[in-house]
């Protein structure tokens, strides 16, 4: 019976979220009619692909109750590495493989340091990110890499279309589908969530919690590398600051999605990142200068987590008795 209520609440959140997306879309379309043009919608799809991949990586880390602040550094180093491989004349798949390997390796370093050696996550990932950001300069001393970019076909990732939709969006949807299946339909996903919510009980249940924490960082590194790949495809060159704008939307997407849809999950992140990208592109279309974007995402993120926080909900519900009842149900203790 209460399972039914649970499903009800979940679908109510889903419906509310859809209504929010439609409302935001309508508001942006009214403010700027070009928002609904195909060029604008394609832009949203492309940006959502890059932002969404970074946010997905962060989702794994947040599910195991950690943070990762190395995103910009990893993106810079992986991006420059892929650029260097392409410039050296290697085929695209080699460059992509190199980027994925580098993302995975850096994620492994952070993950093992945090899970196996117990270092604090925030500061460790800041340090690793700083080292990576420095290493991004190793190839060219900071100059842009663009040689061979056209010949190798990387820009197809940005321009090519499949059934009317950009390839990058298909990539995003495919990866999200796989991630959704793994996180919500397999034992691996259960292990991830158990590791985040009670690592001790998970360990006692035979789950290799340290491995899952490390794995979360590895996946985050890989996703970050893929995200920056799409950015390189869009711009047609590699620069050391290419990943600088990935982190804020990723955090906003994960936490806004979790706040609105009631918990960190693959679908919540997808929803969050859709909302964020719509707003970002909409504002850009309206001619809002670039330097407002971080601030706006920050505001949305803050407003989102604030509106859906326990405290705020407690204030709203403090007039009702339901919550008082739930807070100290007599079943809790004698």
């Amino acid at each position: 019976m209460s399972g039914f209520q649970d499903n009800m609440r979940q679908s109510a959140r889903g419906v509310g979220f859809l209504a929010l997306v439609i409302a935001v879309g309508a508001a942006l379309a009214i403010a700027e009619p070009r928002f609904l043009s195909s060029a604008s919608l394609n832009g949203i799809a492309r940006h959502m692909a890059a932002n969404g991949l970074a946010a997905l990586g962060l989702t794994f880390v947040v599910i195991v109750r950690r943070f990762d602040l190395s995103l910009p550094g990893v993106a810079a180093f992986a991006g420059m590495s892929m650029g260097a491989v392409i410039a050296a004349g290697a085929p695209l798949w080699v460059a992509v493989a190199a980027g994925i390997a580098i993302g995975a390796a850096i994620g492994m370093v952070s993950g093992v340091a945090i899970s196996r050696f117990g270092l604090p996550d925030i500061v460790t990932t800041i340090a690793v990110g700083s080292i990576c950001a420095g290493m991004a300069f190793l190839y060219t001393g900071g100059r842009s890499i663009f040689q061979n970019f056209f010949q190798v076909g990387i820009t197809d990732l940005n321009d090519a279309r499949l059934m009317g939709l950009g390839v990058s969006l298909w990539i995003l949807l495919a990866i999200y589908a796989v991630a959704w299946f793994v996180m919500h339909r397999t034992r691996t996903g259960v292990a991830f969530y158990a590791t985040g919510e009670n690592p001790v009980a998970a360990h006692f249940s035979g789950i290799a919690t340290k491995r899952y924490v490390a794995l979360a960082y590895v996946l985050c590194g890989v996703c970050t590398a893929l995200a920056v790949l799409l950015i390189l495809a869009e711009s047609g060159n590699a620069e050391t600051n290419k990943g600088a704008n990935l982190m804020m939307p990723a955090y906003a997407g994960v936490f806004l999605g979790a706040a609105i849809l009631g918990g960190t999950s693959v679908l919540a992140t997808l929803g969050g990142i859709l909302l964020i990208t719509m707003l970002l592109d909409g504002f850009a279309l309206m001619g809002v200068p670039y330097y407002y974007s971080d601030g706006m995402i920050s505001l949305i993120l803050l407003a989102g987590v604030l509106a859906f926080s326990d405290t705020a909900r407690g204030w709203l519900a403090s007039f009702g008795i339901r919550r008082a009842f739930r807070r100290s149900a007599p079943g809790e203790k004698g």
Partner: protein
């Protein structure tokens, strides 16, 4: 009987012994600083030229100002990653105010007021609304960075006239010491007193360990948390104002590098005096250490990005050492 009786006199002796061992843990970073200075000076004697010393002390003062409050935030088990962008905002606001013809004092006041406002926002969201500190401060950092850039429409604002702090930044006392060091050190000394002698210092460290315990004895945890975030932001804002004077400009992108610098000095400093606990004296020493290291690296001709790599590696090393020390401490505790 499981409980044991101990004479009070013994507790006294225990305390003196503890003070002695504390002195030794105090010394290692200072010793490292001396060794580092000697090493670099032997390769590049320019390190000790008055001009270079002034530069080192100036950046030391600004850095200390920037992270004085951050030290306590981290000591209390929270995190603030907005401080460097608060400094950037205050820096830009100050420069922008001057460009509007406000005069120095109103401009400085505006910078500090911005710090106060962001600190209150951070503190309210973390302490009252109970949102995670990282998410809150990462957002306010983004907000401040945007506002800072917006003030100059994305570019630098130059400052034409030197202000009241300018004379403090000039070399004095034999040409090697900028006077700004003195008020900064005085403020740090005051903070040290608060941390060591007043109840607040004790509550900060207790909070990091067991916030519920602190709350349950009636200590105003909400007020304390609010105060810590406000102090952190106001300190950073002050650093931003000094930066405006020092650079004779408002630089919207100035915040970035200070994040990792600030965290490095606070965590490195947390490895002395009270091991494993960020503290004011440790932060001061670590700031000077990093200042000498960077000055030396520049004299040795290392490019910027290599310094960035060194710094990240140093921070990681510091983390590992701190963790090993804590583990050692824990084992001793288990054994004893």
């Amino acid at each position: 009987m499981t409980m044991t009786m101990t004479k009070p006199a013994e507790s006294h002796r225990h305390r003196t012994r503890r003070r002695l061992s504390r002195l030794i843990t105090n010394l290692w970073l200072v010793a490292a600083l001396v060794v580092l200075t000697a090493l670099i000076a032997s390769q590049r004697p320019q390190l000790l030229d008055p001009g270079n010393v002034v530069a080192v002390l100036k950046s030391f003062s600004i850095m200390v100002m920037m992270v004085l409050g951050l030290t306590w935030v981290i000591a209390a088990g929270k995190i603030d990653v907005s401080f460097m962008q608060v400094a950037a905002l205050s820096n830009m606001l100050c420069a922008w105010g001057l460009s509007q013809g406000w005069g120095w004092w109103p401009a400085i006041g505006a910078g500090l007021a911005a710090g106060l406002a962001v600190g209150l926002l951070n503190g309210w969201l973390v302490a009252v609304m109970r949102l995670p500190a990282l998410i809150v401060t990462i957002s306010t950092a983004g907000l401040c960075a945007s506002l800072a850039a917006a003030l100059g429409k994305g570019t630098v604002i130059r400052i034409a006239t030197p202000g009241p702090v300018a004379s403090l930044l000039e070399p004095q006392l034999g040409g090697a010491v900028p006077l700004i060091v003195l008020p900064v050190l005085a403020l740090a000394a005051l903070a040290w007193f608060v941390q060591e002698r007043l109840s607040m210092g004790r509550y900060i460290y207790a909070m990091a360990q067991n916030e519920t315990a602190v709350r349950s004895v009636g200590i105003p945890v909400v007020g304390l948390t609010l105060l810590l975030f406000v102090f952190s932001a106001v300190c950073a804002a002050l650093a931003g104002v000094i930066l405006a004077e020092n650079l004779a400009s408002g630089q919207p992108m100035i915040g970035g590098p200070y994040l990792i610098n600030g965290l490095t000095v606070v965590l490195l400093g947390g490895m002395m005096v009270h091991v494993g606990k960020p503290n004011i004296l440790g932060t001061l020493t670590a700031t000077l250490f990093i200042g000498v290291l960077f000055s030396g690296a520049a004299l040795l001709g290392l490019p910027d990005y290599q310094r960035q790599i060194i710094q990240g590696a140093l921070l990681l090393t510091g983390l590992v050492v701190a963790m090993l020390a804590a583990r050692h401490h824990g084992e001793r505790r288990k054994g004893g």
